[in-house]
């Protein structure tokens, strides 16, 4: 499956978090790498799965279903947002 970048889900993330998240830094729970959310690898199917570009750990999953959005941030130890 061909991936895209965190950029590609910028609109969805902003809908969920109320601000741009792609310029925020996220730390991977698997390998500890820290990089911008805009640069993580994104796979789209029924939902969105984002993985660490370095170690492939699942960082987050988002599913939109009808009037619900379901967010799983299992692989992000920290998120650093700057104003």
């Amino acid at each position: 499956m061909v991936h895209v970048d965190g950029n590609a889900i910028a609109g969805l993330l902003e809908t969920v978090f109320g601000r741009d998240l792609t310029a925020a830094s996220g730390r991977c729970s698997g390998c500890g790498a820290e990089r911008e959310v805009g640069a993580i690898h994104v796979y789209r199917a029924a939902g969105v799965v984002a993985r660490c570009p370095d170690c492939d750990t699942v960082l987050l999953r988002i599913v939109e279903a009808g009037d619900r959005i379901w967010v799983d941030l299992r692989g992000l130890t920290t998120l650093e947002l700057r104003s």
Binding site: H3, V4, N7, A10, G11, T15, G18, D20, T22, G66
Partner: protein
């Protein structure tokens, strides 16, 4: 639907009206838009477009903004023959038509002229040129003097988007250099490059790593992967390379 759960955030769907269209190539068209209360955008940002069929089926796609922040918003769209949204935007839409849009979106794949000092190196594959064109237009409109180079890979000369404008930038704008490579067919007398973007071509065209350039790469996923890998191999730090992958093709 989503906004009903989470409340109307800043990023809400709104209706955009097409105020002008520009045919760029046989497969690519630019739509100039009027969006009420457009907050302004940054070069490199995109919008999400949503079309709703009569039976309620919705299709949503992202399109990069082609205009500089100094201009009204415009998107440049390439027709994907099996696409759900692009054939409508490229072939059907006429001036005065409206569709749903949200944006501007994204804070990562962006370039601001204000305060920019590092050389700007842009690598485009096909319609990946769109957000990079916004950056070059922004550089010109903002009066920036940072050195800028674009390496742009197209299949054929006919597929080159913004060809005349890029030629003007290349020949008349100080500090801007545009290098084309054609991967499939080169017309007689072609003086540009031929073949895919590879390590040798990048080494020749890119600013050297010692110049500490900021690099933006946009195109199909396989193109972006190959270019980013080659740039890292040439000594460019991964943190100085920003990528935007389109997916397949």
């Amino acid at each position: 639907m989503s906004t009903a759960v989470l409340g109307p955030g800043r990023l809400a769907w709104q209706v955009a009206e097409v105020t002008d269209t520009v045919t760029e190539t046989p497969r690519v068209r630019t739509l100039v838009l009027d969006v009420p209360d457009w907050p302004g955008h940054r070069a490199g940002q995109h919008v999400d477009v949503r079309l709703t069929a009569e039976d309620g089926y919705q299709a949503e796609r992202s399109y990069s903004l082609a205009a500089s922040p100094e201009e009204p918003p415009a998107v440049t769209v390439e027709r994907l023959d099996d696409g759900e949204v692009s054939p409508y935007l490229v072939d059907e839409v006429v001036t005065g038509d409206r569709f749903e849009l949200r944006g501007p979106i994204g804070g990562y794949f962006v370039w601001d002229a204000a305060g920019a000092a590092a050389p700007l190196f842009l690598v485009a594959g096909g319609s990946g040129v769109v957000p990079l064109m916004s950056m070059l237009r922004h550089r010109a409109a903002a009066g920036s003097t940072v050195p800028a180079r674009m390496l742009y890979s197209s299949r054929t000369l006919e597929d080159v988007i913004y060809r005349d404008e890029l030629e003007q930038l290349n020949s008349r704008t100080e500090g801007v250099q545009v290098v084309h490579t054609l991967t499939r067919v080169q017309p007689p007398g072609w003086t540009g490059r031929a073949g895919r973007v590879n390590r040798e071509l990048l080494q020749e065209v890119a600013f050297p790593p010692e110049a500490n350039p900021i690099v933006y790469v946009c195109g199909p996923t396989s193109f972006v992967e190959a270019v980013a890998e080659a740039l890292v191999g040439l000594g460019h730090p991964p943190g100085r390379i920003r990528t935007e992958r389109f997916g397949g093709a």
